[in-house]
């Protein structure tokens, strides 16, 4: 248990440094340190699937951040509308809290049917799906519909990124759009 707390403290320190430091590269490296600590925590808590995913996604995010943030500062564009933004945010928080209060009344008591669903998966997962890795049997057989939704989200994200950063969307004011520009993309 002690190593967990050490890693937690390391994560908190990394997050604080990432927020407070002025240099962008140091901030990105601090975020990476926090992610590495989180990955090791997953490993200690015996979730190797999540640990592997966390590690590779952390590497990827680090590459994108280093390549993307080093050269330029992005302008912060919400100045001047802080009153409207604050009112809208407060309204959403109040609405979510009100709806959440109604929903939580219908939920079962906290932690009451312990491992009811998970116990079924653990006992019958191997016979029903034939997969030795229980995580794979859950995410691709019992809960495959969720995985389909996750895949759809990623697909939409890729389309969105490619649509925003494509060449033709960033033309200059007096630039003409030609057909070959579009084919290049």
């Amino acid at each position: 248990m002690v190593e967990l707390y050490v890693l937690l403290v390391l994560m908190i320190i990394g997050a604080l440094i990432a927020i407070e430091i002025k240099d962008l590269l140091s901030s990105v490296i601090a975020v990476g340190a926090a992610g590495l600590a989180l990955s090791i925590i997953f490993l200690i808590l015996k979730a190797p699937d999540v640990a592997i995913t966390q590690l590779v996604v952390e590497i990827l995010a680090l590459i994108i951040l280093v390549r993307g943030t080093l050269k330029r500062d992005l302008p912060f564009s919400t100045t001047g509308r802080w009153l409207l933004n604050t009112i809208i945010t407060a309204c959403f928080v109040v609405i979510f809290l009100a709806v959440g209060m109604k929903c939580f009344k219908d939920l079962p008591e906290f932690g009451y049917p312990i491992m009811k669903v998970a116990g079924t998966y653990i006992q019958e997962g191997l016979q029903k799906t034939g997969a030795v890795n229980l995580v794979a049997s859950v995410i691709l057989d019992f809960r495959a519909y969720d995985t389909l939704g996750e895949a759809t989200i990623l697909f939409t994200a890729v389309i969105g990124v490619l649509a925003i950063v494509r060449k033709i969307g960033r033309k200059k004011v007096d630039e003409e759009i030609r057909e070959e520009d579009e084919e290049e993309i």
Binding site: G130, L140, V161, L162
Partner: protein
């Protein structure tokens, strides 16, 4: 600065990349195909496969990476993965319901077991790998083009 980066990094980085990039790719394929036997699966393996191409692109420049996996091929793989995953799900209707495990389960602890989980993992890895490679390419190329535009603007001012 940008011209140096397009050519790639130093000789040491290039040599190490040449030695390791194949191993990284193979490790990604292993993680994908053994997703139902050991930790990992389609998402993690797909990201590792994409990272091997990103590795190549960072070390050698974008032309070398596009020789191995062009942008058209990346988008084709992405679409193929999505369609494959959805068609596996829809094929479940032949036996009853969505995502039915219609292939025989086989023996546990063997590579070809667990029915649809292995093809689903491969489909997800195609989708995730090609999609993430496309995102990284888009962001990196955006920066290259912005630098070039700035240079052109400076030249124009002079």
């Amino acid at each position: 600065m940008s011209r140096e980066r397009e050519k790639g990094m130093s000789l040491i980085v290039k040599t190490i990349t040449r030695l390791t990039v194949g191993l990284i790719f193979l490790y990604g394929v292993y993680i994908v195909t053994h997703g139902h036997l050991s930790p990992g699966g389609g998402f993690a393996g797909g990201v590792i496969i994409a990272l091997s191409f990103v590795h190549l692109m960072l070390a050698y420049g974008k032309e070398k990476a596009f020789e191995k996996l062009s942008r058209a091929a990346a988008s084709l793989f992405e679409d193929a993965g999505a369609i494959l995953f959805l068609s596996i799900a829809l094929l479940g209707f032949t036996g009853g319901y969505f995502f039915l495990n219609f292939i025989s389960k086989g023996q546990p602890f063997k590579l070809f077991s667990a029915g649809i989980i292995l093809p689903c993992n491969i489909a997800i890895s195609l989708k995730v790998g090609a999609g993430i490679f496309a995102i990284v390419v888009a962001l990196v190329l955006l920066e290259f083009e912005l630098e070039e535009e700035k240079k052109e603007e400076k030249k124009g001012k002079r």
